[in-house]
Amino acid sequence: MRQDFVLLFIIAPLFLAVGTALLGRTVKQLGFMLSCACGLILCFCSFMVFGLLQKTPAHIFIYKVGGHLPPFGIALVFDGLSSFMLILVNFISLLVALYSFRYMDRYTDKWKFYCLFMFMLAGMNGLIISGDLFTLYVFLEVASVAGYALVAFGTEAEDLEAAFKYAVMGVVASIFILLGIALLYSYTSTLNMADMAFVLATKPQGALVAFVSVLFLAGFGLKSAMVPFHAWLPDAHPSAPAPISALLSGVFIKTLGVYALARVFFNVLGVSQKALFIMMFLGTVSMVVGAVLAISQRDIKRMLAYSSISQVGYIIFALGLGTPLGILGALFHLFNHAISKTMLFLNSGAIEYSTDTRNMEKLGGLNSRLPVTGSTSFIGGLSISGVPPLGGFWSKLIIILAAVQAGHFIFALIAVLVSIVTLGYYLKFQRFVFLGKLNLGLSKIRGIPLSMTIPVVILAAISIVSVLLLMPFAGHFLDSACNALIAGNLYKDSFWSAIIW
């Protein structure tokens, strides 16, 4: 079958990871080459999937693993949303792999890094395409465990502490999710998501479903770092090596948290007003808490980590609006934030690489020495703060428009005020690190190699032109992703019709 290539999403990173584990110690640079190759292949596959989806009716196709029919066999589901996420995840992973080539020189045992990196990639890809809840859980665990190990990669005391906290809280999240899945399985006797939605539609929605909703909200909330489940993130993200921080903040929490949450709530459980309100409320709280805490940080990466909490708050808030416009805003913001935050974390790594510090107060005037880092950080920061003409502005605009259209004026006002604070801390970052006089305390400033600047330049270019995604000629990319969520319960119908087709 010509669709067999989709198995590569899982097989390629898994096999290459194992290959790296076996040979990485002896063959130098094997890990780097394999992960770049893996990134390239998967990027190509993601676009293939996107192209294939445009040709299929209803923009969905199912790959039956081993040819067994769902709900008995494992199904891999490709619809607008998963293709959107696949492109984002694999594209950013490719850039991150490229970046890590020189950055990882500061660590020993680089091959372990690449090995874990590919496991993480396998986990994220598997989670995105899995069509049943238990497979989703398994890949979520694969990605998480790789994440715990990568956070501890520096093996300094604080790295280990951060990884420990992250692991404990991550396991708590997994248990919540697993418990939720178990309860649902006992209730519906199926694990396939479409089938489960089908069964749930026929059965009364009692207290059990509500309880499971809470479990999922808490579990995926922990993974996506919603307040009050966020406390691991400000420790974990700064401790990881910069490429991993970029991947964690850029796509990891969005895949494991936001994507899984959206998929389960919109397509399987069906959105209830209560769940939506909780998402909206927690999203708003996250926005405020993240932004307020970010402004007083001195460590660049810590500031960026709090900023991630705040921005994921925007995404969850917009999802919680539940309207088509809100979902569009959420997904577009997810895209823009992934691009900008990856760029900023990669730049924070470049700053650390070049000056050996991440403390903003010890830096200053770097624009004269690292102009590319300076200007791309500027673009990234402004995009997240929502300054036109950068991408973040348009997604923020859509989110606020959607919130007002839905009649949530107070939430809209809070979102607007938070964006002012966001602008404040990104300008502070710019002012302390890149502008002003070159800090004399910086003994040596190393130049940044090309392999570390090219990825951020590509990302900066994307965040400048990302408004084009809203234009009619590029509509499919975002629209079909949104439609997958807007369809809600109709997911099961399109699933079954795709099986037959």
């Binding site: 809280m169 922990l222 402004i295 300008l427």
Partner: protein, 552 residues
Amino acid sequence: MNWTSFFHIDSLNGFVAIAVLGFSLIVILYSVRFMKGKPNLFRYYLWTVLAAIGSVGVCFANNLIVLLGLWGFLGLALYILINTGGEGANEVAKKTFVIVGGTDALMLLGIAIIYFLSGTSTMTAINLQMNSGLTITAYLCVAVACFAKAGLMPFHSWIPECAQKAPLPVVAFLPASLDKLLGIYLLARLSLNLFVMNEAMNILLMVMGAFTIIVAVMMALAQHDMKKLLGFHAVSQVGYMVLGIGTGNPIGIAGGIFHMLNHAIYKSCLFFTSGNVEHRLKTTELDELGGLAKLMPITYICTIIASLSISGIPPFNGFVSKWMIYQGIVTDLRVHSMALKVTSVICLFAAMFGSSLTLASFMKLIHATYLGQEAKSNAGVRTREVSWQMWLPCVILAVLCAVLGVFAIQLPLKYFILPAIGCPAVFIGTWQAVLATGLVVIALILGLLAMRLSLIKPKVRQGATFIGGEELDLVTYRMTGTEFYKTITDLSALKRFYKAIEGGALDIYEQGKDLVFFLAKPLHKLHNGVLSSYLVWCLLGIMAMLLWGIVK
């Protein structure tokens, strides 16, 4: 989808766009010499041109989203242009962008509400009645962005600092002219076309305008830096424009809009002249200047004309627009509403008083800079007049001050401003500008003749100064223009006022910063780094969700 839904031209925005382009050309002409040899030149010219294009876009925009995008882009341009000033300017640039960009975010909310209420984002199709809290919120949200761009209190605090630290052409270009033009243009558009104003809103605008006039001019009186003094005047004059628009009658609104143009003319002229002084003497501290009138005559004359204009002395343009604003306020006195009457009286008083204080502070500036004795620092230095690229813009603007003043009714009002208002403005009383100007000129000539012909002989007795038998060193013991005005800041009644303002009581940026850090304090305490407490939060979170699920 055709272009008229995105762009629209009428006499109001056509006139603003012409002004924008004119100022851009003049500023670029001025920059050729002033910015020579300064760093970041490419960035400076690139963003100057981009800002000009963006401003024209803002003028013609007929779609709220297009307007918002371009408007925010101008804030970005402002930030980058201020940053070309180097180290000292970075902090100011940040503050400016937080205030300007932050209010842009509020504007976004306002536009979202307007879209929600009217169902369209085409500006010509919107006409909202101010009858609900939501409409008022929408109006205020967008108005705040206009206030911040134009510099109305309490959103003004970036302008004086920016005037002091940013490169001078940037100040003359954006805060002094373009941002004022656009801010007031949008406020006028908002109040005239998009919303139907009610009395409460008018009173609010008038009060904010009057408050700004007085407080900012008081601050200007106490300044010792020429550019910062001008910066405070740039704030104070915004008060007149907003006051004019707040009157809600045609003559007042026309006056406000006319004042916006006039302000841009004389204020950029004043900034240019201070730039000339800075260019030659490398300082704008009033204490270190003095006696420049003989050395830089063209700059001196231009400063005088622009100062008279900003203080509202006939026959210059500042007088005409202020006079129209006063008429607008007086017209409001005929309205039956008591609240409006009382406000009008207070505002009229504030506006006139503010005008006289403006004159007072410009006397300080002119005396300290151009008259009096030469300061130690420049005594002996042969200072020349600046080159033509730098004095020509000043002269053009000074001539415009006079021309627009004398032929106010014949030229700008007739062709641009009154058509834009849409209804005829009624002048109270008579003001024959040409006749009055003729009389003023004749009076001046007669006075000069009298002096020359020695018809009046001033009785002056010159005696030696005795200071303990020592020779008086005029350079050390010179009279500076600033000494006299120190008495104002030392007045016990005003001391506290000045202290509070210097401390940032009216600075929305400082207040906002304090608020955010206040909020952050308990949150920092909560994040104690202990894993078990983090787990407790998770548990509490999940319990709260369960409880809420059951109760609701």
